[in-house]
Symmetry: C2
Subunit: 559 residues, 2 copies
Amino acid sequence: MSEARNSRSQRTDTHVPPVAPMRWWGWGRDSEASPLPEAARKLLRERFGLDGSRVDAPVALGDIELPDCRLDERVRNRLADAVGAAHVHSDRIARVSHAAGRSYPDLVRLRAGDLATAPDAVVMPGSAVEVERVLAIARSEGVAVVPFGGGTSVVGGVEPLPGQHAAVVTLDLRRLSGVLAVDPAAHVATVGAGTTGPDLERALRAHGVTLGHFPQSFEFSTVGGWVAARSSGQASSGYGRIDDVLVGTDLVAPAGRLVLPALPATAAGPDLRRLVLGSEGTLGVVTECSLRVRPLPAARHYEAWSLPSFADGCEALRALAQERILPDVARLSDEEETAISLALAGDHPGVALVRRYLRLRGHRQPCLLVTIYEGDGHDVAWRRARCRRVLRGYGGVALGSRPARQWERERFRGPYLRDALLDHGVLVETLETATLWSNLARLYGAVRGALRSALTRVTPDPVVMCHVSHLYETGASLYFTFLAPAEAEERIALWAAAKRAACEAIVANGGTISHHHGVGRDHREWLEPEDSALGLAALRALKRELDPDGIMNPGKLLP
Amino acid sequence: MSEARNSRSQRTDTHVPPVAPMRWWGWGRDSEASPLPEAARKLLRERFGLDGSRVDAPVALGDIELPDCRLDERVRNRLADAVGAAHVHSDRIARVSHAAGRSYPDLVRLRAGDLATAPDAVVMPGSAVEVERVLAIARSEGVAVVPFGGGTSVVGGVEPLPGQHAAVVTLDLRRLSGVLAVDPAAHVATVGAGTTGPDLERALRAHGVTLGHFPQSFEFSTVGGWVAARSSGQASSGYGRIDDVLVGTDLVAPAGRLVLPALPATAAGPDLRRLVLGSEGTLGVVTECSLRVRPLPAARHYEAWSLPSFADGCEALRALAQERILPDVARLSDEEETAISLALAGDHPGVALVRRYLRLRGHRQPCLLVTIYEGDGHDVAWRRARCRRVLRGYGGVALGSRPARQWERERFRGPYLRDALLDHGVLVETLETATLWSNLARLYGAVRGALRSALTRVTPDPVVMCHVSHLYETGASLYFTFLAPAEAEERIALWAAAKRAACEAIVANGGTISHHHGVGRDHREWLEPEDSALGLAALRALKRELDPDGIMNPGKLLP
């Protein structure tokens, strides 16, 4: 512990580019993007009658009309004194690239250059002390503060809303980066909150350990963002949610500093770490996290399966979860998601062969299950053998390692594909929930039905697909992706109708409003069924105490 | 889920005896108590020079001078209207048996008949609605309310302190008892908060499931108490802490009701379940809990080991925890605790043989490790094989199943032995902490040293023994038991000095002030180093919101 603790003040400044690492109007980097594959165009043609032409493109950066900066010279000078003049930005690209998260409406708005809510400035503190200084200035000057990690929120979590304040600054935490200490005996790493997934894993690898946390946003999102929004990675069955691995953390709030030391467990009153988890920047700024890490796995095994139906697949996963022999990654697609995946694989002869083989085995509408096992060789072999038996018992047919490897290779590609779909005038969005096993089929049916019926307004056969990918002994998550053709003028209304229908179905059918994306701006009105009116009052009381002037991330989390 | 949820209103009233089930002056039932065994007397003679005679006995119940009941007739009538006249008690035995928990100073005070803090009445609500009514009356009448499950707190958690109020009632929750629903697919049981360990396990057994939660207080403590004080059972390595298994809960607070539905996981803001966990009756009354259960294990295997030193044993346990192959129970005694256990086993020839054998194997000061594996046969065999290899690698010598079975048979006997030791004028107390593996040896040395040096004031060689019994990938708990001969007039001062020395050593050396007993009245002043001043302010803000008049369990948790 002492090693991790003593090093809290050490912090090496890494190279900090002047703008957010993602292209301002979409996901990721231009160099990594690719046009829509032919198989996807074909699908859009056949399913939605789209002719495959690009109908939408982002406006030019220079054409965007930005609102005037509402910070006066004096405040800007105070901020520059606090963090250094080189770390306060109010130029066009800085403001635009911090103006929104990456939900569908965010992307639509960015592409259209509709930046009414751009921050007045972007401030990049280099230490917790600098964060304290910025919050003190913001309090005294009546400026709202939006903490910003990778800016990948899909629930409006980083939208720069000023609330009742005169201006709003985005606090980009990229400079609070790096692995500050690794405690090899305790398997605990202490990390700056602004560290991105790749930087984290690269630094941990040098110590022979891994966090094993791989959300789809991994390449851009940050440790602090994972904690603030209660992230769960694709290998959560093996490595746990971020909630499970956070053993200590520092939060700088407007009212002071919350230092929660790294502990394996405690009964000293309510666990305040759990108040920081899910606080979404509304209570303060997460500056540092102590996380449980594990040795790099010596062995890794990939195995894909087909299950005869989504219902059978869910039952099989329930058995694995409740026998506690889960693979580290276990991701089951429903009939539609599997069909789409096969269609996107194109006319590859191998795919046709698989289809024929599965039909022979009675899988007319197969459901793909990707499994990945990690650990020492004995453990992997042992779990694999047990899982195979269970999966066969539910009618599972092994498909070899290739589809699982392919999934892993492409697992961070989804958001790029979304940008390409937007180019082609397709509405595409995702949302997720979770519930008890006994309620999973009901919730699945209700949300799927709600989305389909909202989208049939524009197309007779919208794509509404789902997978289960986070498994617990008591239940599982459901992750929906939906697509429909959308005319430019109606797409936001259509998105809002579909989103509302899904959220209402979730709440009416015993699901949580979010399994791993958080509440942000978009889920606020559905928080009360989960937390009770009294729970919301409790959260408001907490906020009043930690953020008396309400400067932290206004308009998020609390309705 | 629906099954569990819909049944929330069903509640079968079970037989409710008029007084708490424990003898009023000590632990458990008279019928289960036994005098101090000869081996223990011998130890007291040799170590402390005590002659083995009983020097202390409880006063007669009739001789206790109770303070006058401060509730006037009108308030008593209102309470009787709220819960039924048969469920409001202000007779001698009811007040006495709810006057204290079961820490050493509690026992000393009870035996002496010093009941300055007895409750003015004991109220036994039969439903959450009745709890609401009682809290409303208490608010309007200015009466403090102390929630009471089994009354087993060892940190002053159920002490009936009125705070700033005119009177105090204890809310005995025994009638909120029973398993209300079991969801067999989700492995979730919904349970009344007043359900004791044996009642819970008996009812779950009928459904073929178990919670697997066995704190030493199991026979008397309740589900609500486990949640309120963040309990951890002896099989926590297998079944998890109560924190890990609580998936939903209801809390009745003076300001309203917090209903948190059963969910496997969520990212919908901070997890309010974690505010209920550890709230220690200061925010409201836990009335109902939804808990993860597991199938009754098909196989169980007992295995005891000797490790060559406590340090080696801790390293072995760290390896098991970090390889994630832990037995469900793993409990390692240090050199002194092992020596005392062997001494208490008496002059049994088997024991002498074991000693000789261990000496031959180089274990001059052996450390006993008890392991128990539960699960299906394959899983038990698999973990056992892997554990054996690790334990042998750290110099472990297998001792067969007998010592492990013996430990299990006697695992709830400790508190009875404590009463017998008190009869003989011995100060005996326990306390526990936890820290990261990298800090375990330092913390162990510091706390042990602090206790020894506080107790050497009365004896040259006090007993200060320790075991590790709750294991995590990042660290472990340390559970200390200490004994010293204590004259009647100095025993409380001696206890206070030893307790303070230990708490200060814990805080100065990076431990948590409690691993599974909570904060109560006794640990309040050491909460700030863990929670920060701002964390305490946050907890106070929460309390103001949920309990605006401060009637809930005054003088506990918050300094």
